[in-house]
């Protein structure tokens, strides 16, 4: 549906480096990356706002690299929605239809179903300044969707909202995607949002796409430390080869099984990615299920909603190991898992991944 081949864009000091990406029809792709990494520039390049120095953009098999935005058939919704402040909601939604030469009456008829679907009929005569953030977002979506775009581009559409509105509108986006069937490219720096919405995820940093896969695959097998960090993997353990063994700040770890199929250079350090749920406090599984077992000191406990975050320290001033307990687990274990106490900890082999 959309294919980017080796796109290079230069804007002042910033550069998009050879970005290649594809989206299939009906897919919800989330582009995840920290702020200032070039996500919006990429989105605007796809929309035709910036012209690439190199590379090709294909939409439905058509090369649109040199086409202006109005010829591409894409819709865009920005973070702060960019509603036309001098027009009311109805005129905002009809703007695109009127640009195609449609009469006012026809455009009103065309937008009728969508207005009902998004439940914004009561807002039609209001100005954007009179709308809440959530209402503005639905209007911006209606304005883009009424043009029946091949692809809807969403630029951090939820980040300007409070948590309650964000949660509600996340479901709304899922519903729009499911019921209208529009292909969506959504950019965000919020991991939780990406995991909730994405069919596939592309991880971006410093103007490059680092990995592009299903969310669970990115999470299970990050291809670099940067991806692991962006994907929210909580523990990245450096392992150094010493006399045929792998040594970490926790001590010697047995990762030969995991490294069986990987080519490592002699003397090469590796990084072990360990999701938080792979770390067990009071481990109870058979011995060979664990990569490492030992005692760590509880450096910090932090209550976050239904979860309790634990920071476990090796005690030698090195790195930490981080995990979470459910509130129920924590209440059971709390006499033993207090700050400053030593607790037995096991790191499960299953689910860990080595990054070369």
């Amino acid at each position: 549906m959309l294919r980017l081949d080796d796109i290079v864009v230069r804007l002042g000091d910033f550069c998009l480096n050879s970005v290649s990406l594809s989206i299939t029809k009906g897919e919800y792709l989330v582009l995840l990356g920290p702020t200032g990494t070039g996500k919006t520039v990429l989105l605007e390049t796809i929309a035709g706002i910036h012209r690439p120095r190199k590379g090709r953009i294909w939409i439905n098999g058509r090369d649109v690299t040199r086409q202006p935005p109005e010829k591409r058939g894409l819709g865009i919704v920005y973070q702060d929605y960019a509603l036309f402040p001098h027009l009311n909601v109805e005129q905002n939604i009809a703007f695109g239809l009127r640009s195609t030469g449609m009469s006012e009456r026809q455009s009103l008829r065309t937008m009728e179903d969508l207005v009902r679907f998004l439940d914004i009929g009561h807002l039609l005569k209001r100005r954007p300044a009179q709308l809440s953030g959530g209402e503005q977002q639905r209007v911006a979506l209606a304005r883009a969707l009424v043009m029946k775009p091949f692809l809807l581009l969403l630029d951090e559409p939820l980040s300007a909202l409070d948590r309650a509105s964000r949660d509600r509108l996340r479901h709304e986006l899922k519903r729009i995607h499911r019921e209208i069937g529009v292909t969506i490219l959504h950019i965000t720096h919020d991991l939780e949002e990406a995991l909730f919405l994405a069919d596939r995820m592309a991880i971006m940093e410093n103007g490059s796409i680092l990995q592009h896969d299903r969310p669970e695959a990115v999470f299970a097998r990050p291809n670099s430390r940067a991806v692991a960090k962006i994907a929210g993997i909580r523990n990245l353990l450096e392992a150094i080869p010493e006399n045929g063994r792998w040594v970490t700040f926790l001590g010697v770890v047995d990762i030969e099984d995991i490294l069986k199929n990987c080519a490592t250079d002699p003397g090469q350090k590796i990084c072990i990615s360990i999701p938080g749920w792979n770390v067990e406090v009071f481990p109870g599984k058979p011995e060979d299920s664990y990569l490492w077992k030992g005692t760590l000191r509880v450096a910090e406990t932090r209550l976050i909603g239904d979860l309790v975050d634990l920071v476990l320290s090796g005690g030698n001033g090195g790195d930490d190991i981080r995990t979470s307990l459910s509130r129920r687990e924590w209440e059971t274990l709390s006499p033993f898992v207090e700050q400053g106490k030593n607790v037995p900890v096991g790191i499960c082999k299953k689910g860990i991944h080595c990054i070369m």
């Binding site: 109005e70 036309f84 001098h86 703007f95």
Partner: protein, 257 residues
């Protein structure tokens, strides 16, 4: 905190007094009967009408080229952009009599553009067209800079969204950029028009006759003294103030809507 505000307020008030006092003093000192008599003088009201008309023409004609130029300066980066911005600001810097002489060197009867226009039946020396030309030259920076600020204040993403909705660059300019920058453009046009009305130096070099109001005031002051120049000056100030406040009120009302 309170004394800080009081000091700022006091200092600002001194400046307001500095500007307002001479104008208020002159208006209050005027005898309404004398003003009425002055307005009844054909020569006076014709010169006031000429001034208002010539400044209006200058503003309208400059808006046709100035607004697009302001948009380009606000939205595009191109080599020599700073030079263009500098050239537009130049008339504010140079003495206006010098500006008049410079204009004469290009639009005078014995110079290239002057000869060209004179073949088309348009002369600039001693004509209303010349007055408009001089007014346009010295006051156009007010229009271009204000319109540019207006365009700069528009979030470029509004224009980008409009393009993705199928609007051509022309439609985006006419339906999004222009309506949103309208207040700044109008404000710049009012400033340009007002500055044009008050222009003396460049106008007097290019077209002493027909006489604009500032030239008439100068002539009366030189030939007959303050007593005869003051009523014409008061009338001109009053007319300018009335038009200025009406246009400001209109643009404020539009903004409110």
């Amino acid at each position: 905190m309170r004394s800080f505000g009081t000091v700022l307020f006091g200092l600002g008030f001194i400046l307001v007094l500095f500007v307002a006092m001479p104008l208020v003093r002159m208006i209050l000192a005027a005898d309404p009967a004398v003003l009425k008599g002055v307005l009844a003088e054909t020569r006076v009201y014709q010169s006031i009408l000429l001034t208002l008309r010539a400044a209006l023409w200058a503003t309208l004609l400059c808006a046709v080229c100035g607004v697009p130029l302001a948009y380009i300066l606000a939205r595009r980066q191109f080599p020599g952009k700073s030079l263009v911005e500098g050239i537009i600001d130049l008339p504010i810097m140079i003495p206006h009599t010098a500006a008049g002489i410079a204009l004469l060197m290009v639009y005078g009867k014995s110079f290239l553009l002057g000869r060209l226009f004179s073949r088309l039946g348009v002369g600039f020396v001693g004509t209303e067209a010349g007055i408009s030309l001089a007014m346009a030259f010295v006051s156009v920076p007010f229009l271009v800079n204000s319109a540019k600020d207006g365009f700069l204040a528009i979030d470029p993403r509004l224009e980008r969204v409009a393009r993705t909705l199928g609007a051509s660059p022309w439609r985006v300019f006419l339906k999004v950029s222009l309506p949103l920058a309208w207040r700044s453009i109008l404000s710049g046009a009012i400033m340009m028009w007002a500055r044009g009305i008050s222009e003396f130096g460049a106008v007097v070099v290019l077209a002493y006759h027909p006489m604009t109001a500032p030239v008439l005031i100068w002539e009366r002051f030189g030939a007959y003294g303050l007593k005869y120049a003051r009523p014409v000056a008061v009338v001109l100030i009053l007319i300018c103030l009335i038009i200025f406040f009406v246009l400001r009120a209109l643009s404020a009302k539009q903004e409110e809507n």
